[in-house]
Symmetry: D2
Subunit: 358 residues, 4 copies
């Protein structure tokens, strides 16, 4: 199914080389100022073709808002957005129509559906993530109304780590590097992989600041579980960590527990979430992107009728999907938090009365 979220719910459509991609954003409360320039500026961050670290495929990625906004404000009705595909070169893909690209969804789509739209990966293309960024931008406008900020950036590329977390810098970096000091080394790591006709993985940090305590739910809509679902659902993500993440399995309770004093939590091993519910501290999510499966080194594979062959890929691809993936991760986080805010409104009778009693 192609929807995400409960009240703030995003439903998307579209393939890489079809006429258009798009989404319907449902559940946006009425009266939100919809700043179209902000939405476009978010899309521009993810937009390909802007530098040597991303695919040279050029798309204007213009968001056409078709509904749900009247005199600059959300009406409470679904916001329909269409982004037309402009720079399709379907011919690039004709020679992969009959084989399965390693690391791609070609084999599994065919297994599930009996055939596949092979043009540019069809629905499995990262192109679809533009609609997530558009929806995330609307979510951010909503978060902004109560002061919540979403930051994101590259924590590592291959063997190069960021030592600092500077979200403002990441915002200006072509690769969304979190650390001014190691950004160039990260870029070099990407270009090295690219020049070897290969690709490279990367790690992204998403940070949500100023979220109120009380977001999420105890057991089956845990905020961390929903974040994990959202992040693992981004193309190429293979691991999700909350707070100290993997490291906790090596810790003792006395190290891992965040003590509390009058001013709040003394440490933040938990990454801002306890028992599935936000505790008011910074929410921290780390995600691991695999290297782009599209590489130009010849690879062994089989045809759709199971004959062995060698794949020699052409086309235009990102050497490191983690970079632009960071933008998508920030957007998905915004959507998760927006939905949690709306779902959380009904948690107490006191809130119910606040809203419904004149």
């Amino acid at each position: 199914m192609n929807s995400f979220g409960n009240i703030f719910r995003v439903t998307t459509f579209g393939e890489s080389h079809g006429a258009a991609i798009g989404c319907i954003i449902d559940g946006v409360p009425a009266g939100l100022r919809i700043d179209e320039r902000f939405i476009q500026s978010e899309l521009d961050k993810r937009r390909p073709g802007q530098n040597s670290f991303a695919t040279p495929r050029k798309e204007s990625d213009t968001a056409n808002i078709l509904s749900g906004v009247f005199e600059g404000k959300s009406t409470g009705q679904p916001i329909g957005i269409v982004i037309y595909n402009e720079n399709q070169k379907s011919s690039d893909y004709s020679d992969i129509a009959d084989l399965f690209r390693p690391g791609h969804a070609d084999f599994t789509y065919t297994a599930k559906y009996g055939f596949r739209d092979y043009r540019g990966g069809g629905r499995s293309s990262a192109r679809e993530t533009a609609t997530r960024v558009a929806a995330g931008a609307v979510a951010k406008l909503m978060l902004n109304e109560i002061g919540i900020k979403v930051g994101y950036g590259l924590l590592s590329v291959g063997s190069i780590d960021a030592k600092e977390e500077d979200f403002d810098f990441a915002d200006t970096s072509e690769i969304f590097g979190l650390d001014r000091a190691t950004e160039q080394a990260m870029k070099d790591e990407i270009l090295n992989a690219k020049n070897s006709h290969d690709s490279i993985g990367g790690k992204v940090l998403v940070s949500i600041k100023n979220a109120p305590a009380g977001l999420g739910a105890p057991l089956y809509d845990k905020l961390d579980a929903t974040l994990a679902e959202a992040m693992m659902g981004i193309n190429g993500v293979k691991a999700v960590e909350i707070g100290d993440g993997c490291a906790v399995s090596k810790m003792r309770g006395s190290e891992n527990n965040d003590l509390i004093n009058k001013d709040g939590f003394v440490t933040n091993h938990a990454g801002g979430i306890l028992g599935g519910i936000s505790n008011g501290a910074e929410i921290r999510v780390t995600i691991h992107f695999k290297p782009t499966p599209s590489i130009f080194i010849p690879q062994q594979t089989v045809t759709t009728d199971n004959k062995e062959t060698l794949l020699k890929l052409k086309g235009r691809h990102d050497p490191c999907i983690a970079a632009r993936g960071a933008v998508v991760a920030g957007s998905m986080a915004a959507i998760v938090i927006a939905d949690a805010l709306l779902m959380g409104m009904s948690s107490t009778i006191s809130n119910l009365k606040k809203v419904w009693t004149k």
Copy 2:
């Protein structure tokens, strides 16, 4: 909300120290032989009080099946299961009623709901996971019909790693250790923590073998995203990895891509999932449990009216939640796969005709 799954949908209720916990399992196809002894044997694996590695709290954890089964077979109607709580000692908790235990959900539940049921952690207690195991057992009976097997076990405890993956051995181990050779060292690691009035984290592997290719969905119900949600939703889990997981962020595409030959995938870095859909290879999920937050070393915290105090915990607790957590993880995986099987039936017109044309 307290439901999980789309068609195979489990809804649970119950607190640690209330009258009972239970679940409703909806969407079980009619005609499944419901082996009650198998369900009970699954519950017995998770049951506390059986050895020195788990809480000494004794519960028989008897599954009472109240509906949905007729003459030994599922009827297609919801299966209601109740497990009564037997060994409540609410008095153990009276002295924590007015403070927030570090690492627990006390603070966040209070933030969300205005107050909390403080008896044994209430809904946040791992006791609720017994219902997941009961539902998972029903899912396993269904998976069994088409030959799918779910294995699980401890990959590491603190600094001790399993070097082998022996799911049959894990099934007989008191701590579900995956490696006969390191199981004793794992036990020692747990007892060391326990004897220091502390606790220890651990890492669990879940393996699904013989799942057909084609399970899952392209973008918003990706099999890996749903597994991530399911696993991150288990108490104490802070990280989820699919296949090579975190390691992929340091890899190049030429290392990470699984090449394909006539016999299938040559390697399995992907952990059996490509583009959100199973590829027929073993599905591999690794999850990281934090150390039990309940420790007996005094800890700094605040009261519910924000006065600083020292928590000196009493009660009965697991020194390493990863051990019994492994059973829960296996159960949740079974539920995810059962739901994916049912959801996947409608993926092609050819299947539609197979079912509906006489």
Copy 3:
């Protein structure tokens, strides 16, 4: 599937002649005073065996609340309720095991599931509606917090109509008759049918007073559509009308439109709902129950292996399901309104700020 509602969501289980029936009520805001005597008093209204107008089957219908309540108040966690079946006489049903009763779900359950639990109709028995009444009682407690009242009663039985709508009287009537003047005639109509070994249909009115304007949603969760779904989902209901209902198809716009003046709507043809959203006027729903399909006149039917036979029914049955059905209808209406109140909280940014801004 066996759930109803979005946020205030009820999931039920249980068959007529199994061990128990029950439900899980999810989404109840924390802090609601849960008056168990009120819940029981609601169940007592629907309870069979109290007079000659209902089946003589005796059940105490005791609601056992197993979770979600602490110190008399809802905790925000799911409320699990179990009602044990006490007075099963499965032997009554052994002679219908191999045939399809006309007007019943025997044929269709077998068509869908391949076999059926034939004891007392299994899941299709109206017994399940006790869980709806329990959940409806919790909903009513919530509605009460903001002053909304649900009334219901019999508008007609066979050819006897109520001329007045006296919800207080209906509450005291054994058959929930709305009009003191015609109640005895309605009773006679029921007993006449019963004495002829037959049954009789009836019409029920549900009225919701003091609901705020703004409940519901424009197009796919219209309040009237959800009410229609809820009502048509009650056993034996074959028609649902909102406001003037069927009569509107014979009207002109100038008759049907409710004019508006400074004090509000001058008339209420619309039944309190315009464009799927409540307008602040009384919400009026009329529903039509078919006569009980279980009658004692011999009926032509076929066996499960399609041999023609004559059904001579035994057992205990209501001669007019509309009477006790009225209680169920009132309960379902309460659930619909409770859910609409919770869903409606997030309709504006102004509400969002009211709840989340300190």
Copy 4:
């Protein structure tokens, strides 16, 4: 929320006078031949401006399929459809911006959202139903694969009844009249109302033939409940009847029960549904449309700041929404049945094995 259906799920967006309306159709099985001419021909039936019985507003209502179809077949991915608005005359509405039209959603939208998009009724305009017809057309293509036929037409307009049910004739009638003999009288009834600056209600029959037994679910996704929800969710519908509908409340069991012989059900009072599940007989749904609320007779109302005023409407409106509403009703029925077919695939273990075992 703006979605309908579980697996075959339609999500729509768009207002009367915005840039476009559209929908995303999710869950269409892969491999369905998508006949675009058929989809367009369905839209053409509902299209306004074709005769004197509908609004003269002219729209080409061209369906632009943006995704989910490859080489003429559905791919299993969401089908995105956009229909551009062409003939907006927003100026027509400027003089109603500050008042509430009787019988319309103006008052309730404002109550819920704080303001409204007043252009042409915004989201509440029947214009949105074009997307339902597009989605219904795709559903019909799917139904066609297993031989299910949906018929519909006008049963009555004001005081004129159809005496026959001729679905083929209705398909050729400008007003979808079911009876050639009374069609002209129905037309006259509409024109009489129109010429009096008034409008008129009508009754529509929807018939589904050749649906297999076994569609629907016992209690909370009853086929009749879902049909009721779907039909009551169409603009202007105030009552829904299944089979004999309202008449059953006056019947005895011996009249209403459909007896069964070797060849099936002898009568069809039930309208093809028993216990929420189809029984293989014709499924019959009757719905009642109110008269168009937009009339040209001056009406008393209030302004948005509650000053009394007289509404003198201008613009272009259908004198009888039941006529074009019949097309929408048929489309919604097709969507309901398509979803029930897909949901019903997983009802037995035997089906599960049929699909998943090689």
